[in-house]
């Protein structure tokens, strides 16, 4: 009954996204929820790369940076509409992932980790150093997407917070739908096979290198689009978005929630996005609490929060 699993996952997401705003008392809630969605979109890419294909990346923020800066730069230098810039950013990210992925995906485990880390650091270094173009560490302003004004023109008036919540939620839903579909197709099956064992996958005739590369490229596009949306929403972009910490954050969100499933990873994104808002109550103990939570979840719910809890409920343990 895989089909029903796919649709039930999508239905759960849709229901949460649609019902949640009923409980939002202010646009601050829309703001935080929109960040949950945009992070959710990025971590779906990690699910495809790490959950399906079993590959590690510590440099995916590099692609988010490319997506974000595409939206900042293309409208200024190429005269592109910010929406078209998002597509351009995704294409550049895909191309770069294709080029970089070929050599580095031959590496395994931690070696792949350090290579992808190097890639991410290179991107953030270019964004930081080429200040004549990128504005340097202080970043640059991003043009208005214009869609909200257009919607207002046809009578649909939304606040900035509401607008970005719905845009990001829609992007996340589409991303989840595509990822769940992928899981059923040949590519998805190939990816899952190589997560089990690359050698075994190769012996049954799966083109391992190709499957890994396509997972890498797809996940890069997810990160890129998420980066673009974040830049367009914030109307500002700084090199932090491509930084090492952001890469780690993406992986942590996915793994904490459960990197094996789209729903789990999105839940992880929600948890890690909400935590800093909740932990402000801990004041200076915030970092201590965050570190502890990360360790405890990984020790006691090894498959992530969602699969771990499901297993506990079913009484199977992990």
């Amino acid at each position: 009954m895989r089909l029903s699993h796919k649709y039930s996952a999508l239905l759960v997401l849709l229901a949460v996204v649609a019902v949640a705003p009923l409980f939002f008392p202010s646009s601050y809630y829309y703001r935080v929820a929109s960040l949950v969605c945009v992070n959710g979109l990025a971590v779906i890419g990690i699910v495809i790369l790490t959950g399906y294909a079993g590959q590690i990346s510590l440099g995916h923020a590099g692609f988010a940076g490319i997506g974000a800066y595409a939206c900042a730069l293309a409208p200024v230098h190429l005269g592109l509409h910010p929406g078209a810039a998002l597509v351009l950013g995704a294409l550049v990210s895909a191309g770069l992932a294709f080029l970089v992925g070929r050599p580095i995906l031959r590496l395994k485990g931690y070696y792949l980790g350090v290579a992808s880390l190097g890639f991410g650091i290179l991107v953030s270094m270019v964004l930081t150093n080429e200040s004549a173009i990128t504005g340097g560490p202080d970043g640059m302003q991003v043009a208005d997407l214009g869609l909200r004004g257009w919607l207002a023109g046809i009578g649909l008036r939304l606040t900035t917070g509401q607008f970005w919540y719905f845009v990001n939620a829609l992007a996340m839903l589409i991303g989840a739908w595509l990822a769940l579909n992928l899981n059923e197709r040949a590519t998805g099956r190939a990816l899952r096979a190589l997560h089990g064992s690359e050698t075994a996958a190769a012996t049954v005739g799966i083109d391992v290198a190709r499957a890994k590369l396509s997972a890498f490229v797809i996940s890069a596009v997810y990160a890129s689009v998420a980066g673009s949306l974040l830049a367009l929403q914030n109307r500002l972009v700084t090199p932090d978005i491509a930084g090492y910490m952001h890469s780690i954050e993406m992986v942590t969100m996915a793994v904490l929630g459960g990197v094996g499933s789209v729903l789990g990873a999105i839940f992880g994104a929600a948890v890690l996005t909400l935590l800093p808002q909740v932990l402000t109550a801990f004041d200076q103990y915030e970092q201590i609490a965050l570190g502890l939570i990360m360790m405890l979840v990984m020790i006691y719910l090894r498959q992530g929060i969602v699969p771990g809890l499901l297993a506990l409920i079913r009484g199977r343990g992990t």
Binding site: T50, I56, P103, I104, R106, L107, K108, G109, Y110, Y111, G113, V114, A115, L117, G118, F119, I121, L122, M125, V126, N129, S197, E198, T199, A200, Y244, I248, V251, T252, V255, L256, V259, Q284, Y285, E286, Q287, I288, A289, L290, G291, L292, I293, M294, M295, M298, I299, R302
Partner: protein, 291 residues
């Protein structure tokens, strides 16, 4: 300009020795448990910060350093007992996140206990630079370079000449077989975490007079140390030493002759190119995948 070249080399070897010391800390834990400990940088930070505050409490420097190193070793052992041991057989990404969680946790604790200030330890043998064919080197740099060599030699002998060292390697290679052979694998893990933490803390004590220290120096140092260890080949003390020095010299030469703006970039490009030619690093062992 011979003296300029020599100066770049001195800088490169000093910084390289810093990276090597951190990379050597990675080596031991990796060999015992297949875990790359991203909290290794925090051990370095704990060594430096611990010494700073023991010194402020009025202890003499050698005693302060000893207390900081022992204390950090205890923290390393506790980390293994409370976290790593309980997460045995977890996938690599989970282990990465546990060690990163530990790194965030330790930073948080130090920030609350010791504050966010930047500190410097006094140099062990004074600050007057020594002259060498037109280049200058501080006595503390010699301490760091010497420290890296001593730790390297000790680890190298440990892994090749002692029964315990071989037992640690056996534990990583095949825990089950090691246990059948009568090796106390739990003890090997505890030992490696304790000693690794002590090596990190020692590095922190040695480098703090040069690099200064604060609650957040750990992560950048751990990243460079990680890169150095992978460059040399993870798990091999020789790889850690050569990888560290290579990375440091590469950075210094790039800053000196090409452009200081992209010195870190050159280092990472070399890593990417080298790994695509030699996927196990310079001295890493080829492993066979188990099906």
């Amino acid at each position: 300009m011979m003296s300029d070249f020599l100066q770049f080399a001195v800088s490169g070897v000093t910084v390289g020795a810093v990276y090597a010391l951190i990379a050597l800390g990675f080596t031991l834990i990796y060999n015992a448990s297949d875990v790359v400990n991203f909290a290794q940088g925090e051990f370095v930070m704990l060594g430096g910060m611990g010494t700073v505050f023991a010194l402020q409490a009025g202890l003499p420097l050698p005693l302060a350093a000893l207390i900081a190193v022992m204390g950090t070793a205890m923290i390393g052992i506790a980390f293994n007992k409370l976290a790593i041991e309980r997460a045995r057989n977890a996938p690599i990404v989970s282990l990465i996140i546990i060690t990163i969680g530990a790194s965030i946790f330790l930073q948080g604790v130090v920030q609350v206990v010791f504050g966010k200030g930047i500190h410097r330890l006094p140099a062990f043998s004074g600050d007057e630079p020594l002259r060498l064919l037109g280049a200058t080197i501080t006595p503390q740099s010699l301490w760091v370079i010497g420290g890296a060599l001593v730790v390297f030699a000790a680890l190298y002998l440990f892994f090749t000449r002692t029964i315990t060292g071989l037992a640690v390697l056996a534990t990583a290679n095949n825990r089950f077989a090691a246990r059948l052979a009568g090796i106390d694998t739990d003890f090997m893990m505890t030992l490696s975490f304790g000693v690794s933490a002590a090596i990190g803390a020692l590095a922190g004590v040695l480098i703090s007079p040069i690099t200064l220290t604060s609650y957040q120096v750990g992560v950048p140092l751990a990243l460079k140390g990680f890169a150095a260890a992978m460059l040399g080949g993870m798990g091999n003390p020789k790889g850690a030493l050569v990888g560290g020095v290579l990375l440091g010299v590469l950075e210094a030469m790039t800053a000196g002759y090409l452009s200081s703006h992209y010195k870190d970039a050159v280092a990472f490009i070399v890593i990417l190119v080298l790994l695509s030619v030699k996927p196990q690093g310079l001295f890493g062992l080829r492993t066979v995948n188990r099906v």
